[in-house]
């Protein structure tokens, strides 16, 4: 018999299977992922990093309205989707573009929101990825709903619901956890704790021993992992997904990572944090440590490197080619998609705009 504490409390330290020097560590509850998984992950990390940096460059060139980069958090981004099966769902936030692309969504469609030609560019059903949510934590009850419906329909779907450290302060986070627990919904709540909510550091956000502890009050098991260790994340998230799928109810995972860049390009991080706080995190980079480990194992041959580089180059080209031309927008779209059946008022307003534009052209 396990005690309540054993079942619900997270590990005393974040689970870390490959440390920042690339050294592997044994763990009583988690196994190192397979070579194949780590090599896949390596490729995805390289591609994810390139996606982030290319998108940031395109903001500077005015091709995106804004880009909240997950630079430095790519291990979380990639692990969140690698542990999912095809029938599973992902509920991402504005920061999770890399995760969405890693799930298979078209990169340009992923960036529609941030380019500003529509609010959400991809078909959520195509890859089972909900629209990115900007109002913090509001997507979490939806994730519970999708999971609960799947259960009622007898499907073995698991829902991966992403949220930031700041988002865990919103009421919706707590309601979602409670609902998921009461309804035994197969949701993995995955907190990317990057230590900041814009300018507000974690210490001002929460007095909890860790964010993974927030599950305890709802009867949701919590676990925490080193958010820059892809191996540990794959193991922890993988196990959480398995448990949820096996009917053990919702799981809460906190990844401890760091937002090495500003909140977005519009933010000035020098106003609220010192560079010397950021520097040590650069040494904990998720790509660097995995690369070191793979090299030490002699697993990183030229083929793998070339393939990773090719995929990264491909996504960068996709972004440049796809985002450089001005997107075509149709003002008539403004009135579509509000109701299954267009209202008389909207028809009139659409006609008004059509007429106005026709007169402008004349």
């Amino acid at each position: 018999m396990t005690t309540v504490e054993e079942r619900l409390l997270p590990s005393a330290e974040p689970v870390c299977l490959i440390d920042q020097n690339g050294l592997p560590h044994e763990h009583p509850s988690y196994e190192l992922p397979t070579k194949a998984a780590l090599l896949d992950g390596y490729t995805e990390l390289i591609r994810g990093r390139r996606f982030n940096d290319q998108a940031s460059a395109l903001v500077r060139q005015g091709r995106l309205a804004v880009y909240p980069s997950s630079h430095g958090q790519e291990a979380c981004q990639v692990a969140a989707t690698m542990v999912l099966k095809e029938g599973d769902w992902l509920f991402p936030t504005y920061r999770d573009s890399v995760s969405i692309v890693s799930r298979g969504v078209d990169p340009i469609e992923t960036l529609t929101l941030l380019r500003g030609d529509w609010h959400s560019g991809y078909d959520p059903y195509a890859h089972k990825v909900a629209p990115q949510s900007t109002p913090l934590a509001t997507q979490l009850p939806h994730a519970v709903g999708v999971a609960h419906a799947a259960r009622l329909k007898g499907e073995d779907t698991v829902v991966m619901a992403l949220v930031g450290d700041g988002g865990t302060s919103e009421g919706d986070f707590h309601e979602a956890l409670n609902f998921a627990a009461v309804f035994h919904a197969p949701v993995v709540f995955f907190i990317q704790n990057n230590e900041y909510a814009i300018s507000v550091p974690l210490a001002k956000q929460s007095a909890a021993p860790s964010l993974a502890h927030k599950g305890v009050g709802y009867g949701v098991p919590g676990e925490r992992a080193d958010g820059n260790d892809l191996a540990g994340l794959l193991a922890v998230l993988g196990q959480a997904v398995e448990k949820a799928r096996a009917g053990e109810g919702p799981q809460l995972v906190e990844a401890h990572t760091y937002r090495v860049q500003a909140h977005t390009n519009a933010d000035d991080a020098t106003r609220y944090r010192q560079d010397d706080e950021v520097t040590p995190w650069l040494d904990r980079d998720p790509i660097q440590r995995l690369t070191t480990y793979l090299e030490q194992q002699d697993w990183l041959d030229d083929d793998v490197r070339r393939q990773a580089e090719a995929k990264a180059a491909e996504v960068a080209t996709q972004l440049r080619d796809g985002l450089m031309p001005e997107p075509e927008v149709d003002p008539a779209d403004l009135f579509k998609y509000l109701y299954a059946e267009e209202t008389q008022q909207l028809r009139e307003q659409a006609a008004f705009l059509r007429d106005e534009l026709a007169r402008e052209e004349a």
């Binding site: 900007t134 919103e170 106003r271």
Partner: protein, 328 residues
């Protein structure tokens, strides 16, 4: 006192600073309002000047922010809270509608809530989804709330000072596209109070009634109309609740024609209320039905499409042209 050229953001910042100097019970809190000074820098430097107890960051939860402000106001303080953006204030809606608005009434006046909820609102800054809502109508529709919105730099200062001194809760709507607009102002000059509309321009032919982000557009339209030979009065509402029937109706009666200009969607909105009031009170002075230039009844569009949604000079002039001039 000399006139200085400052932006609306600086005027709001100065109003907060002066209010905090004038009254120790004034406290400012919300998301990122401390070290960062707010994402629009409205609280810039306040924590440095007044300390963490007077201007502070909270955990990220709008219901918590407004709810805590209610309690602090109940216990003798004058909280000023910031919702980071219009659409991010919605988690606090329950607190605003069920408690902020009702406390005086349900306690038969025994509990007052002298608090201010500052909300940057409206479009025109190319914001992505959820960063451009016009939420004033939700608040204006809720009895018990006072709703004000400055459209000039001087009013930004004057109205915020008055809102903080007000005995009742004030929803203070800041047109974010005007944050960087600069004017020569003398902040010591007294401004009209809450509940008072102001005529910004006199003209005999028709009246434009506008507020917040729509005011500069209305003034520009009046300028163009004048060049084309039509003289327009422009009324700046300033205070949505209480509503200044007197000033608005006097202008409409003088001119006999009116167009309401607002950035929010028109259906069941502040603009529809204005039309209803003007029609009820000034019917016999009207030479034409009151027209409206508002946003369409759609969610605020993405940046690449927002220009179609915002009231424009042309739309205002078209509406003015439609005021049945040929009949008179």
């Amino acid at each position: 006192m000399t006139h200085t050229k400052i932006s609306m953001a600086q005027a709001l910042n100065q109003a907060l600073r002066d209010a905090m100097h004038a009254d120790d019970t004034v406290v400012m809190f919300g998301e990122d309002v401390g070290a960062l000074g707010g994402v629009f820098r409205i609280t810039d430097g306040l924590t440095a000047e007044f300390g963490e107890n007077r201007c502070f960051d909270t955990p990220l939860a709008e219901a918590g922010i407004v709810g805590m402000a209610v309690g602090m106001a109940m216990n003798g303080m004058r909280p000023v809270v910031e919702m980071q953006f219009d659409a991010f204030g919605y988690p606090a809606f329950e607190q605003v509608v069920s408690h902020v608005a009702k406390m005086r009434n349900r306690t038969r006046g025994r509990v007052q809530l002298p608090m201010v909820i500052r909300i940057p609102y409206g479009g025109g800054i190319g914001g992505v989804e959820h960063h451009s809502d016009s939420s004033e109508s939700y608040f204006a529709h809720t009895p018990g709330l006072t709703v004000v919105t400055p459209a000039t730099v001087a009013d930004a200062y004057g109205l915020l000072r008055k809102a903080i001194e007000f005995p009742d809760p004030v929803v203070f709507m800041e047109p974010k596209k005007l944050y960087w607009a600069k004017e020569e102002v003398d902040l010591t000059e007294d401004q009209p109070g809450i509940g008072t509309a102001v005529v910004r321009r006199e003209g005999a032919d028709a009246t434009l009634i506008a507020y917040g982000p729509a005011l500069p557009v209305a003034l520009e339209a009046a300028e163009v109309a004048a060049a084309e030979g039509r003289q327009l009065t422009v009324v700046d509402l300033r205070s949505v609740v209480p509503f200044d029937d007197e000033t608005v109706c006097a202008a409409v009666r003088r001119t006999g024609r009116a167009v309401v200009v607002a950035e929010a969607s028109g259906f069941a909105s502040v603009s529809s209320e204005i039309v209803a009031r003007v029609t009820e009170k000034c019917f016999h002075s009207l030479a034409a039905p009151v027209r409206r230039v508002t946003a369409f009844d759609i969610p605020f569009p993405p940046p690449k499409l927002e220009k179609y949604q915002l009231p424009s000079v042309d739309r205002i002039l078209d509406a003015v042209d439609d005021l049945q001039w040929e009949d008179s």
